[in-house]
Symmetry: C2
Subunit: 556 residues, 2 copies
């Protein structure tokens, strides 16, 4: 089998205007970026608002393992398959971050014959949205320190500045820094640090904003720190919100690209799901719903992180209600969850599959708790045996859920046709009764405890007294009604990445909480999760380069 | 008179394909970025190589003052005027940096009726080139610290790491930082700092590279630091050059836009002239020379900084030879140089003009030292009197140079027609005998001394012993043949920003030297010049925002 990059390069792409036309988008709505990417003007977006909505399908997965599950690949394959069956379908994905691209993960545009293209461009700068988000974040940071430098009229307490800088790079050296060193001309020394752009509040604001006005209002609401007596100071107080909105204006228009099979895909926004809310922009999802009968979208990492936040944060804030949910799994990943070593994955081991199945079962049941009908997509590998596959199908059958074999990775749309038919049936069945997991009125601690109990099966949440006091303060300041965005490892239902399967009775150790007043959620950081990843010993960047024809090698 | 932004907004832009067609660029060579910007494919660029070159005209100026001189405006006005006279002309400008845009300077796209458009987009993210340069710079930085973290196979001495991080923002808090704080998972603490992107070596490499191959080779040559025994460690040693080149690939294609009068303009690359080499990319300039009979280009700040580096660094490395030079001045700026307060500029003061004229005269004579025929463009303000203008013209006449009144700011091309005719005459006269100021073979200290003596009229250069030792070491390492890039204040011929006019007998105090092995020059930092600017008390950012129609306000 050729590599993803080989396949992407060998493809003949259609001019983006043709893809747009297929989706009913007039040429005048396009801002082309090269020949195969375009932004869709915000005027066009606004003009669709009275059209009826299509059905929303969420693709999520089990906890990720080293074996790979293929969630993006399934999102693309399912979208292509629905289109090939005659259902007018759009795909809504996140934009990749440069951090993982140069680190371990490679690209984030699907794989095999289920990819969005042009893959090199989408994986690198794409249309510059993340750069705009980084710039807006760092303009605010520069204006904070500049305010201190010129006399600090607002009385910001330099010890209580919570606004951090951002960079779209895996760079552990920037996690914890001292800035403004070197004397009078460089300002007042203080502790600072950088988060990866995809973990920043500006990214969250960008992805949750309904339109340009909402964007500006949310940006203005961002809290950068407190005064000595605990008053919040906002981006609006610093007069930074206008310039931040100006920096983000063009980026806020959704990006249209195509799949290898010519399906239209909106790829826009991209918060990480472990340290942020993990789904593409509200603007893109809502637009896609206006333009298509079915929209297939993805939430990052396992359903405990990505799907929970998609449903409790994005759907709650944007008034969205999914019609069906696809949970992606593989026999290999279940075997890893069942305790098999990666080197032994090629050998049949039904016992290991069975031991790993509780992970999948819990994710499925969690999605059912939200009132969503579920289908399992089982991405087939050649090493999977009939007995192993049968074990998965039997177990899912007991939950009233189909587990459907998929081969879109090697076969494109045809390999996801069965899955597409199952999804069509779930949509037609109209059995979805979507409800968020908790109500707005629950306390912030109560919301965290609800997610921990219901989704993670934790026995309890450990909240250190200073963290509890902070949550209380957020409530006193009028932010008690917002949802919570729990940051934890993606590898386990617990905060311990080594606890695979479906652990029970564990404790969720909260380390820190941050109020994202612009995004309208409270970030609750549990365990060792970092808001800035590091590079591995041999970063993927070492293998990336240009060939003699100037083409990019080493992305995968 | 309406503002620059009002004028730019009121303009009806032509589709970029029409502008391209006027310049003989086929549609297939265009990568559109929206409807009014396009990148020109590197294959198209390469295919022009055997065409004859047009004539190159350099626009430079006196030392900048608070009164404003209008160098970019003149570059645009002259280009428009040449086109309106029937000379096939292209304009080659630098891209604006976000730093000054949010600081004091506002935009950098010309002014009045001599602008390149779309001005908001060019001034903000444009086609993302600076973001790509920032990312490439910071990927290398992350790979340096990652190398230390994972065992430091190359033996880098953490105290001798010279590679700094970069951001396209005025942010004094980042000038001097400590990074990798916070314990074992975050690496080995060390001193670090950020330069503004336009002062980074990656920017210089980008602007000096002839093609993608040259870019990759130069990137690989970049020195990030030394081992304990003084061996240089390069980006190539860290295997970072390939990924950096991949990040820069699309950015390296020149950007085509238009002037308000429809002249084609390549706006590409943008190093500052006080702390870097100050001119647009070699690729864009060389392409423009293939496509037009005359190319008008600009070097930043005063001729002592921008033009000297344009001639000694860019023209030397790229094999370019200008045919003529335009030195821009205004009566108001000369009066400021003559000691008049800004508030008194409206009053006739021939004496002050006369006292300020030595500044202009020295810049003119300096350009003549390079073998270039010169014309002075005198941008007219309504407060200028006949006597004041006459004083300038008489003084220039004594140097054998015409001083031509220009009103392109208010009148567009028609206001620069006389200037255009004078430039046509200089080109037709073929009197240019371009020679760089110093030979490759001179020592590095000798090169610095030559520029200080011949251009700045300094009595001597003060080189602290450790700086002298560093220059010696660069020579021992085989870098003695490269040109020097002197970083100093733009406000004076000296390193003291308050010494206006044409100071003699001053001392140029070198503070630091840095080897840019990728760019192939040695940066010599003199006086207090910063490689990272700060924001003013009231940053321009405070006034930037979106209006009710989503248009950007506050750029100027």
């Amino acid at each position: 089998m050729p590599t993803d990059l080989d396949i992407a390069r060998a493809a003949t792409l259609l001019p983006i205007g043709e893809i747009a036309a297929r989706a009913g988008i007039p040429d005048a709505a396009l801002e082309p970026y090269g020949r195969y990417k375009a932004k869709l003007g915000l005027d066009f977006v606004a003009a669709q608002k009275d059209k009826p909505d299509g059905a929303l399908v969420l693709v999520t997965g089990i906890n990720p393992t080293a074996a790979g599950e293929g969630k993006t690949t399934t999102t693309v394959g399912l979208g292509d398959a629905l289109n090939s069956l005659g259902t007018r379908t759009m795909i809504a994905l996140r934009e990749p971050s440069l951090g993982p691209c140069f680190g371990v993960k490679g690209g984030a545009t699907g794989g095999g014959y289920a990819q969005v293209v042009p893959m090199e461009e989408i994986n690198l700068h794409f249309t510059g949205d993340f750069h705009a988000i980084t710039a807006a974040n760092n303009l605010l940071a520069a204006m904070v320190d500049n305010h201190l430098y010129w006399g600090n009229e607002l009385g910001l307490d330099a010890r209580r500045i919570s606004w951090r800088r951002a960079i779209d790079m895996n760079d552990r050296a920037l996690r914890s820094t001292n800035v403004s060193l070197g004397g009078v001309p460089n300002g007042f020394p203080r502790e600072d640090g950088f988060d990866i752009t995809v973990a920043s509040e500006v990214m969250a604001v960008f992805c949750l904003a309904r339109d340009l006005d909402d964007l500006r209002v949310r940006l203005g609401r961002i809290i950068v720190g407190q005064t000595r007596d605990g008053r919040n100071v906002t981006a609006h107080d610093l007069k930074a919100d206008g310039a931040m909105a100006a920096l983000l204006r063009d980026a806020l228009a959704p990006n249209l690209v195509q799949t290898l099979e010519g399906s239209p895909a909106l790829v826009h926004g991209g918060p990480f799901a472990n340290i942020a809310h993990g789904c593409n922009s509200v603007i893109a999802t809502r637009l896609a719903l206006k333009l298509a009968d079915v929209v297939v979208t993805e939430a990052g990492f396992g359903a405990d992180l990505g799907a929970e936040k998609f449903l409790d944060i994005k759907c709650r804030q944007a008034g969205l209600a999914p019609s069906a949910c696809v949970v992606v799994a593989t026999v290999r990943a279940l075997k890893l969850n069942g305790g098999v070593a990666k080197s032994a994955l090629g050998t049949e081991d039904v016992g290991a599959v069975t031991r790993g199945l509780p992970n999948l079962a819990r994710h499925v049941q969690n999605m059912q708790k939200f009132g969503l009908p579920v289908v399992v997509a089982l991405n087939r590998f050649t090493s999977d045996t009939e007995a192993e596959i049968g074990a998965v199908q039997t177990a899912m059958g007991r939950l009233g859920v189909e587990a459907i074999l998929c081969t879109h990775w090697s076969d494109g749309a045809a390999g996801a046709a069965d899955l597409a038919r199952a999804v069509q049936a779930l949509i037609a069945g109209k059995s979805a009764r979507f409800e968020p997991l908790y109500s707005d009125h629950l306390s912030l601690a109560g919301k965290i405890e609800t997610v921990a109990r219901e989704i993670y099966h934790a026995e309890r949440v450990s909240i250190p007294p200073p963290v509890a006091a902070k949550l209380k303060r957020f409530e006193e300041q009028g932010f008690g009604h917002v949802p919570v965005c729990i940051a934890k490892t993606q590898y386990s239902f617990s905060a311990d990445p080594t606890l695979l399967g479906a652990p029970e009775g564990h404790v969720l150790p909260l380390r820190e909480v941050r109020l994202s007043a612009g995004a309208s959620f409270v970030v609750a950081i549990a365990g060792d999760i970092m808001t800035m990843p590091g590079l591995p010993r041999r970063p993927a960047a070492e293998g990336i380069g240009l060939d003699a024809e100037g083409r990019i090698n080493g992305l995968f």
